[in-house]
């Protein structure tokens, strides 16, 4: 009897603790580390976009176009909001957050100085913009990368913890069943009764609790895996593509801004587009994203991104030919205006469609996370009730037989 109670209580404690732990991990993933990962991705993207937009606005000359100014302002607002979100996370990468918090206002200050000088017609504005851009790439984006990595690692850890198999609880459950069966056999031998209702009930209750645990684990794990394959893993790749597209956009502007014998930015543009679109014998980011996509709507968006990127590539070639042939003004027009065949409309469509694809994919992550939580939802309570029932039933059954026997 003592053995039954001891193993029963141990089983109850371990099963309950495990269930609560998995439950909490899924909860954290849904309410904390998941959203923080989104914030970290948004932080990086907003910073990159701010820099690319500032370069494009500078290229337009004089008073910058309103759309570009709005875009820059929204980027800085989004980056600040994301930074505030992440700052609240006690597990975040502290030193990177400090770097970002200290330097984001410095960056914005440099860009504003550049703008004031540009409006006054002073070439020193371009130098302020170069300094701002150097700060962005050498300091801010590097820190945002490590914040990004820490947050997405945290989310993946929560997801894995949520899908953990109850290795400790199950053997204890099996042990409990074995002890109960041994007791039943002992009682049968001593009392000559085949069935002991109390002990039988206990065995059934423990068995059901184990089945429940495994079933709930199975269902939750399926959803958690789907949250990754249908959600977070795809989002991560799509965000990478979106940032690479921004890099290409910045390269295109900066080649024209630099106006030099320096071909570094143009080389980078070609490399980035090759990374995204792939070459004849190498798959690009888009091909893998297409293969990974589970939502037909996302697949469709990726195809249109691919088409627009190829259109951009062709338009960019024309732009470069114009610039190389000395027609700088028309090259700049192609990069800054929004007529059909200019590069900006292609970029805008690519960026918007990628944003949509990321949005759709994130919804799958959220939905699968919620499904995992509800699959696990009743587990802790059910297991507690079942084990309590088993212990009570076993106690009553054994006590009664012993009393009868006396």
């Amino acid at each position: 009897m003592v053995a039954i109670l001891a193993i029963g209580l141990a089983y109850a404690a371990v099963a309950l603790a495990g269930a609560v732990q998995r439950d909490n991990a899924v909860d954290r993933m849904r309410t904390t580390s998941g959203p923080l990962t989104v914030s970290a991705q948004s932080l990086y993207r907003s910073l990159y976009d701010a820099d690319a937009t500032a370069a494009a606005a500078f290229l337009s000359g004089g008073t910058e176009p309103k759309e570009l100014r709005d875009r820059y302002d929204n980027d800085i607002a989004a980056a600040s909001a994301a930074l505030a979100d992440i700052s609240g996370d006690p597990t975040a990468n502290r030193s990177s957050i400090n770097t970002l918090t200290a330097n984001l206002p410095v960056y914005a200050g440099l860009v504003e100085t550049a703008r004031a000088d540009n409006r006054a017609g002073l070439p020193v504005g371009a130098a302020y913009l170069r300094e701002a851009s150097a700060l962005m790439h050498s300091t801010l984006l590097a820190a945002a990368t490590s914040v990004n990595r820490a947050e997405s690692d945290g989310m993946e850890a929560d997801r894995a913890a949520g899908a953990g198999f109850p290795w400790l609880a199950l053997p204890l459950g099996v042990a409990l069943v074995v002890v109960l069966l041994a007791t039943a056999r002992l009682l049968t031998r001593r009392t000559n009764r085949v069935f002991n209702i109390g002990v039988t009930t206990a065995v059934l209750a423990v068995a059901i609790s184990m089945i429940w645990m495994v079933a709930s684990w199975g269902a939750a794990t399926t959803h958690l895996n789907k949250a990754r394959t249908d959600g977070s893993a795809q989002v991560k790749n799509l965000v990478t593509i979106r940032i690479a597209v921004l890099e290409a956009r910045a390269d295109e502007s900066l080649t024209l801004v630099a106006r030099g014998s320096d071909t570094e930015f143009e080389q980078d543009f070609q490399q980035v587009l090759t990374r995204i679109l792939g070459k004849t014998n190498a798959t690009g980011f888009l091909t893998s994203a297409q293969a990974d996509a589970t939502d037909p709507a996302v697949r469709k968006l990726i195809s249109s991104v691919s088409t627009d990127l190829k259109g951009w590539q062709a338009a960019h070639k024309t732009l470069r030919q114009l610039d190389d042939a000395g027609d700088y003004p028309r090259a700049v027009q192609m990069a800054t205006q929004e007529r059909t065949g200019d590069t900006t409309p292609y970029f805008d469509r690519v960026d918007t469609n990628l944003a949509r694809a990321i949005d759709l994919t994130s919804k799958h992550f959220t939905a699968q996370g919620a499904a995992a939580a509800s699959a696990q939802g009743g587990e802790a309570a059910a297991v507690t009730v079942l084990i309590a029932l088993a212990l009570v039933a076993a106690t009553i059954g054994v006590q009664r037989r012993i009393a009868e026997y006396r």
């Binding site: 070439p123 130098a127 003004p329 802790a380």
Partner: protein, 323 residues
């Protein structure tokens, strides 16, 4: 379930609370703002960028005798000018950061300035059209390599002719006389390069100015940057104490910031020439003929008045032709 978790959490919180660990945020060390630097800054400048300039074995004012200027349609066949004409445009290395000499007008995005206008006169002589130019924006340090490897046909970029450079490229006759001075904030007490011992003084890498700063008797600390405007950024951010280079460039920087002033006399001679690759002697003679023409027809004085001297045009720099 939630309630159970909350209950458990509450109990453990009570239990832990007894230990008296109030998790008040701990204030870290007071952070100190760090000022970002322009890309490519060398503070202090490496000795290699601050070498040379002392060689006096030659006459920087001497250049090749001008050719007779052919009409735009009839460049001698096989000549450098004929090749340029066939290409359809003159490729000129310029600066887009030197206010009034060669700079990008932020309002239009066009590169303008007095050096630009002189380059346009060369294009006019080849094509009959001053707009047939492709501008390549380069830094001071790129000027000699770009001329040598043929990236550009010529460099018109406030470029001082000196013996060291004459070993690497050819120069046209002198089209402008400048001298190195010092730009400081209006609040500065420094009256010239002699007062800047141990202070940071900025100039572009690969310029004669950075070498002159390093060679100054008062021993200032030279700080090298990519473009002249980077110096002004660093001065405005209190990262350097002064900028020292040709008065012409300093005037352009001073015009962008009324909180600065030029101090002290010119302590060097900086005669400007147009740099051309060593092999293209025919082009040097041609450019010298163009310069001679714009001196005689008043175009040079007009360019000077437009950009540099509402107060009066100096007499043109002296020229010596040999060979």
């Amino acid at each position: 379930m939630k309630r159970l978790v909350v209950a458990v959490a509450a109990v453990s919180a009570l239990a832990l609370g007894g230990c008296g660990s109030t998790a008040a945020p701990v204030a870290g060390p007071v952070p100190v703002a760090s000022m970002p630097q322009p890309k490519g800054v060398a503070d202090p400048a490496k000795p290699s960028t601050a070498a040379g300039g002392a060689d006096t074995s030659c006459d920087p004012y001497a250049s090749l005798t001008p050719s007779t200027l052919p009409a735009p349609g009839s460049m001698p066949s096989g000549s450098t000018m004929a090749k340029i004409r066939q290409r359809g445009q003159l490729i000129v290395g310029v600066d887009q950061n030197t206010y009034l000499f060669g700079y990008r007008d932020p309002a239009t995005g066009n590169i303008v300035g007095s050096d630009i206008d002189i380059a346009r006169e060369v294009a006019r002589a080849i094509f009959g059209d001053p707009d047939r130019v492709r501008w390549v924006a380069i830094t001071a340090a790129q000027r000699i390599p770009d001329v040598q490897n043929g990236t550009v046909d010529m460099v018109v970029d406030t470029m001082t002719v000196n013996c060291d450079r004459l070993k690497q490229v050819r120069f046209s006759s002198i089209y402008y006389d400048a001298g190195q001075r010092v730009l400081v904030p209006v609040t500065s007490k420094a009256g010239g390069i002699e007062d800047l011992g141990g202070k940071k003084v900025c100039a572009a890498a690969g310029s004669t100015s950075i070498a002159n700063i390093a060679a100054a008797k008062s021993k200032p600390i030279p700080v090298a940057v990519a473009d002249w405007t980077d110096c002004l950024v660093m001065l405005q951010q209190n990262q350097v104490d002064a900028i020292s280079t040709d008065d012409t460039i300093l005037n352009g920087l001073q015009a962008q910031d009324p909180q600065t002033k030029l101090v002290g006399p010119a302590f060097t001679d900086e005669p400007y020439g147009i740099a051309i690759a060593k092999g293209n002697t025919d082009f040097v003679r041609f450019v010298n003929a163009v310069l001679q023409k714009i001196h005689s027809n008043g175009r040079w004085a007009e360019i000077y008045r437009t950009w540099l001297g509402p107060g009066g045009v100096p007499s043109p720099p002296r020229v010596t032709f040999e060979g």
